[in-house]
Amino acid sequence: MQRRKFLGLGAGIFATVVAAPSMLSAENYRKKLPKAWKVKNDEKSKGEDMAGVNGAIKAVFGSDKTEDGKVKLKAPDIAENGAVVPLTFEADGAKKIALFQSADPESLVAIFDVPARGIPNYSVRIKMQQTGHVVVVAEIDGKLYKAEKKVKVTVGGCGG
């Protein structure tokens, strides 16, 4: 694409100018919020202590005040294999969605930015070393909405 543009216009400067805005629209939250990924769960609570998840929500969104509703989360009741726990979540109108769990050493799993043509309906597979709560938080019209589900893990999948 860029090569074609480059050749078509015969101007290298133009190609770099075109490339720059698309880079700026991208948010690598690894670089932007390095601390958010380090918020720890209390593993001894067997996935019941939510302080880590709430701390990570605050680190990502600047607040942990959430409302219920608007977020749909599909997760298994029981995961026989904690190495592969399938999740699907949906939040119409969301600009940003983040995924957390209370089972692993740290809470944060992923942060999705929803681009202009993005549709906030995502599926991923995650590792859970023990039973815990999966939490999805979505930012919709400046408010935070949350969905939570407990997943019982029979065989842990985080090398634990």
Binding site: N28, P105, R117, S123, V124, G160
Partner: protein
């Protein structure tokens, strides 16, 4: 990387499987290896970003993702790029069916 992109009316469905061990810090320690996992994934349709996620060590090995985006026509390209903790990057492409 295996990518399947399918046009579904006014949107496109994308399924992708990325080949990566996704070694968490704990798993790496056990295997006496260095932790490494995909940290950032983007997808583009004809140059426009349509999917973007920052990820952690807790995605499963060989991460699978499914997502949708508005628009996208049959024959157009979907390009997916990942970056891992060590800075290695990989790009895969598929035509929308």
């Amino acid at each position: 990387m295996r990518i399947k992109a399918k046009s579904k009316g006014d949107k496109t469905e994308v399924k992708v499987m990325m080949k990566h061990p996704m070694l968490s810090y704990r798993e790496a320690k056990k295997k006496k290896k260095e932790a490494n996992f995909i940290v950032y994934v983007t997808a583009k349709n004809e140059g426009a970003v349509v999917y973007e996620v920052s990820t952690s060590q807790f995605l499963s090995k060989n991460p699978y993702m499914k997502f949708y985006f508005k628009g996208g026509k049959k024959g157009e390209e979907v390009e997916i790029t990942w970056v891992d903790l060590k800075g290695k990057t990989k790009t895969g492409k598929a035509k929308i069916k």
